[in-house]
Amino acid sequence: MGSSKDQLLVRLKELQIDFSQYEHPVVLTVEAQAKYVGNKGGALSKNLFLKDKKHRYYIVSALADTKVDLKVLSQRLGLGKGGLRMAPEQALGEILQVPLGCVTPFALVNESARHVSLLLDQGIKTQERCFFHPLSNDISISLDAHGLDKFLKSTGRDPSYVDLEANPPVGKDQPPDLAAFIPSGSTVLPDLPDEAPASQDSTGNHVSAGTKSAAVIAKAVKPSGNVQNVKEKPVNGARPSIPSANAGKFVEELLDKTSTLLLSEISEDSIKQHGGQLGTEVVNNIQKCLREDLKNLATIFKNTAYTEGFYAGIHYQPKRL
């Protein structure tokens, strides 16, 4: 299981990071947190846990009043306009190992969050101290950016601060300026079913109220229960073994396709309709429908066999004289 808040606090002390801690009833939103620690000399932070379409995760940690526009961020990361959305509730527990309402950069101490990318608001550096939850939302700690950096470095990360409110143009000649924040490690995390994403901080608070952003969050996403291996995207770096041109398999595929089509062509109706001519009729249809498909299968087979031969050729050892 992930680190507990006590383990974290011990670690902070070991690292000689200066922080103040305040216990309070469980809070789920920045407003609620403000009630207890708003006047304690530290700026409040809002923390978003986001996910992109390729199942990569991000924590955006910002001052409570910094405007964060998911659309803009998505573009600056190079994910297009609608590439970022709030991560589903399940991911909070599985990846960050924190409860709802408790997203915090400190969650990155957990192994499971190894590949989560962190975007820090440069506004944090302007504050004397800033409040975060140390893995539990019944306690808030305040520390300065220097202390936060020390902690992050201890997890092996290189903290880097970004102007989250900036909106630089992204286009053909201006590459996305935050592209370096895309996690590079291949995510071997399970494909979490897309459920209605949880709002981790109170709604009006974190995202600039552009209607499009609301649409991003409110979009009803159907569970990916239906259909297949369609979601399988090859993980970067995982190399499939060289498939061999297997004549048996190839013939089976051809026969499969033909049989399926044949069966669909021969029914009570079609027998009634064509009688003795059914054979000719079916053959014509098969040829028409299957010709291209079978040719494509054959081309794949040919290309695979050629590749095997090519590979053998370039690795061939000439006879010794």
């Binding site: 379409k53 573009q75 190079g78 994910l79 297009g80 306009k81 609608g82 590439g83 992204v170 286009g171 053909k172 000649d173 590459p175 159907k222 990916s224 239906n226 259909v227 297949q228 369609v230 979601k231 995207k233 190399r239 499939p240 060289i242 498939p243 498909d293 040719k295 494509n296 081309t299 794949i300 040919k302 290309n303 695979t304 050629y306 590749t307 090519f310 590979y311 370039i314």
Partner: protein, 401 residues
């Protein structure tokens, strides 16, 4: 003499079509007649389609039947030569600027595969990783990586490895290829290239000297390992019409250095899901259907983002019918629905208001899902070793079989 292209017009009044930007006038539709006129190429009429059918003894590709490939230069010469028994080779390419390919990217490759099969001719495919490195400010390694990734999707379109050579500029430029580049470069003044491509004093010299790279694959002597004994071989280039400037320049230069002018066969732009204002954009995931989209994604995108010509209410729709001019599902079906009769039926019923937008979209979703699924299966069979084989500088002894 060909109509020479003068200054690329940047005013808002005119539509802009060049290899790096495509936009219609006032955010409207691209005027293809004007484009053909301005560029100076010819319309591809039905007589050509019939002739291709006769010469290849097979039904013409759906893109030809539907006027997707609608313009050409010197296609008649290629066909004349072919009839005489003189073959040709195909040349097409891709600028690997992103990993995600969408259906618009596949169009020239789908058509080129048909041409390869129908005419039984070899093909060279150029991956302009250097161009993207320069224009998109990618690192050399990244553009090379993207080139290889894109090559896999290209191979998945079904090209025959015994007749196809894929190359990336970073790998292949040099030797005979480079000699031709210099020959071409010597024939194009700085002013000329500025006139054609709109370069300015601020553009770096990499951009200015790039055009010959895309020009010389049109000449068989650029590929000595393939065409060493065939200096006379003609070249046919299937491409989208925004690439025309490169080849206008090439055709201008070719006779001056003793080569045949390459012939071209050019396609329309594939409209974005949200409507016909220009090309699909790789940076907006909802403007296009990607080859990595799941069935769910396709359904969602078509249902939520496709711009339709249907009326606002069912009653109005039944009364007035749909506006087929702007309806994206109809346009997409025009590209991808093989059955002519079915398409006609849908157009008729939808235009009259008897068929609803939902039904048209449903049919489109079926067609696209099948297409993407087939592509994905083929893509899964492409390995790095296969890419190496396609990209190896090797002889292709059976390329005309």
């Amino acid at each position: 003499m060909e109509k020479k292209e003068d200054q690329q017009l940047q005013q808002e009044e005119e539509q802009v079509v060049n290899p790096w930007e495509v936009s219609a006038k006032d955010g409207g539709k691209i005027d293809y007649d004007k484009l053909i006129d301005k560029f100076g190429c010819q319309r591809l009429d039905q007589s050509f389609v019939d002739r291709v059918q006769r010469l290849t003894s097979r039904p013409p590709h759906v893109f030809l039947r539907r006027g997707v490939f609608f313009a050409h230069r010197d296609l008649n010469e290629i066909l004349d030569a072919y009839e005489r028994g003189d073959k040709f080779y195909l040349y097409t390419g891709r600028g690997p600027s992103s990993e995600a390919l969408h259906l618009g990217h596949l169009i020239p490759f789908m058509f080129t595969k048909y041409l390869q099969d129908a005419f039984k001719v070899p093909l060279v495919i150029q991956l302009t990783d250097d161009e993207k490195c320069m224009w998109k400010n990618l690192s050399v390694e990244e553009s090379q990586r993207l080139a290889r990734e894109n090559a896999k999707d290209i191979i998945a379109c079904g090209f025959d490895i015994s007749k196809t050579f894929i190359f990336s500029d970073f790998d292949y430029v040099g030797g005979a290829f480079y000699k031709n580049m210099v020959k071409v470069a010597k024939c194009v003044t700085y002013n000329k290239v500025v006139g054609i491509f709109g370069f300015t004093g601020e553009d770096h010299i990499g951009k200015v000297s790039f055009p010959p790279v895309q020009a010389v694959p049109s000449f068989p002597s650029s590929f000595p390992h393939l065409f060493s004994s065939k200096d006379d071989l003609r070249c046919l280039i299937p491409c989208a019409i925004d690439q025309d400037p490169y080849f206008r320049m090439t055709r201008d230069v070719a006779p001056r250095i003793g080569y045949h002018k390459p012939a071209l066969i050019e396609s329309l732009f594939f409209p974005a899901l949200q409507g016909e204002t220009g090309k699909m954009s790789a940076s907006d995931p909802n403007s296009a259907i990607y080859v990595t989209d799941s069935a769910k994604d396709i359904k969602f995108k078509v249902n939520k983002h496709a711009f339709t010509g249907g009326q606002e209410s069912i009653e109005k729709h039944r009364q007035y019918g749909a506006n087929l001019e702007v309806d994206i599902p109809i346009k997409y079906l025009n590209f991808f629905l093989e059955d002519d009769a079915e398409l006609e039926h849908i157009k008729k019923e939808y235009g009259a208001g008897r068929m609803l937008t939902g039904e048209v979209k449903k049919r489109l979703i079926e067609v696209l899902t099948e297409l993407v699924e087939r592509h994905r299966r083929a893509r899964a069979a492409v390995t790095d070793e296969m890419v190496d084989a396609f990209m190896a500088v090797r002889p292709l002894p059976n390329m005309f079989d």
